[in-house]
Amino acid sequence: MKIAYYPGCTLKTRAKNLEDAALAALRVLGIAAVELPRWNCCGAVYSLTDDDLIHQVAPVRDLIRVKEQGAETVMTLCSMCYNTLARANRLMREDEEKRHTLNTFMDEEPDYHGEVEVHHLLTLLRDRIGWKTLAAKVRRPLTGLKVAPYYGCTLVRPRPVSIDPRPDQPTILDDFLRALGAEPVDYPARIECCGAYNILSEPDAAHRASANVLASAERHGAELVITSCPLCEYNLGTCQNQVLPHGEGLRPLPTLYFSQLLALALGVGNEELGLELSPASSLKLVAERISPIHQA
């Protein structure tokens, strides 16, 4: 299976671990994710005002790059890129007037009508591989590991681009965890916001939002939180020392990208997981709670 891959700006540096682990896991699964030879930043957030079409140009250009490669599907790993590209794609499919304006503005590019399918790695795993097949490829089952799936905002809202048919009660990450042999933790804050970009402008407000998520996961018995967004991972994981004082009795809780857990379960060596970019508590959890690969 050959799929165009759009990394986005953060996955080449700060979130290299999200990318490295995912690409290693995809090699094991036999999916050839071919990075677009040319791409630009998608803009990270989807433009929400009707007269602000200029900010749709960046994500639409990326979708045109996919079409140019002759690919029908583009995969993202970052939730924010997924959300922005998927919404821009819907705009180009559904809004004839705006499509015309954008295509006319980008007269140096071929016309685009939303022909490409935008996927997140999680939907590819569900739809093209299937949980059963994935489960059969697990070499390092995560039996007994209690993991809180953190969906956050951009994987499930708004409804038309949700990666789960039930955006208010999503199960895709839970199903993913079960396939890996782990035990998904049900907790109320799974689809609540981590504070997002407020970490720059209103850090206390962001820390409070993140503390709410971590406290909820911890109260329901989680040993680990998994994320799929570099900003969520930063707010919940990297910044955890600043977050903990905002939650009463909150203890450190390891965080990992979902792709790191996937690669671990598939038997990819720890050196390919970019663990050095993850919080120290996560490294400790991997060393103590995830058994070494069983040699058959």
Partner: protein, 135 residues
């Protein structure tokens, strides 16, 4: 907060501008407060989402643009997902933000952040924050 409504301060053009930018009919809001209950940022602001919707309904431009809410809104889309009247409140927030930004005022000050944090922050934090909070 006591609100004095004076018809000389009601700005009908403002209501229309919000509608034009957001594509949303704010008059549909029935003030149930589901948005406020769902908002991760409303705990510390006096003008919560429900109140902001009411201020827009009343056309009180100054009160709307002076409220800090749109500048702490994380665009999490929870209010929009839960609004029983089907209003995309996230788009209304963006319209308020855009009207503020079009006055050419930034709402984030990076020089106040420690260098260590600036080094570690993911790029999408900067891109999204600049997109939402800088003119």
């Amino acid at each position: 907060m006591t609100l004095f409504i004076d018809d000389r301060r009601i700005d009908c053009d403002f209501k229309e501008k919000i509608r034009e930018l957001s594509g949303q009919n704010v008059a549909l809001c029935m003030q149930c407060g589901t948005c406020t209950a769902s908002c991760p940022m409303s705990a510390d602001t006096e003008v919560v989402p429900r109140k902001l919707m009411q201020l827009i309904q009343l056309g009180l431009r100054e009160e709307v643009l002076e409220a800090p809410l749109a500048w702490v809104c994380a665009s999490c889309h929870t209010c929009m997902a839960r609004c029983p009247r089907g209003i995309d409140i996230t788009r209304v927030m963006e319209a308020v933000r855009q009207l503020g930004l079009r006055e050419n005022v930034d709402h984030v000050n990076l020089s106040a952040l420690p260098a260590e944090q600036l080094r570690d922050l993911p790029q999408i934090a900067f891109v999204s924050c600049f997109r939402k909070l800088t003119a």
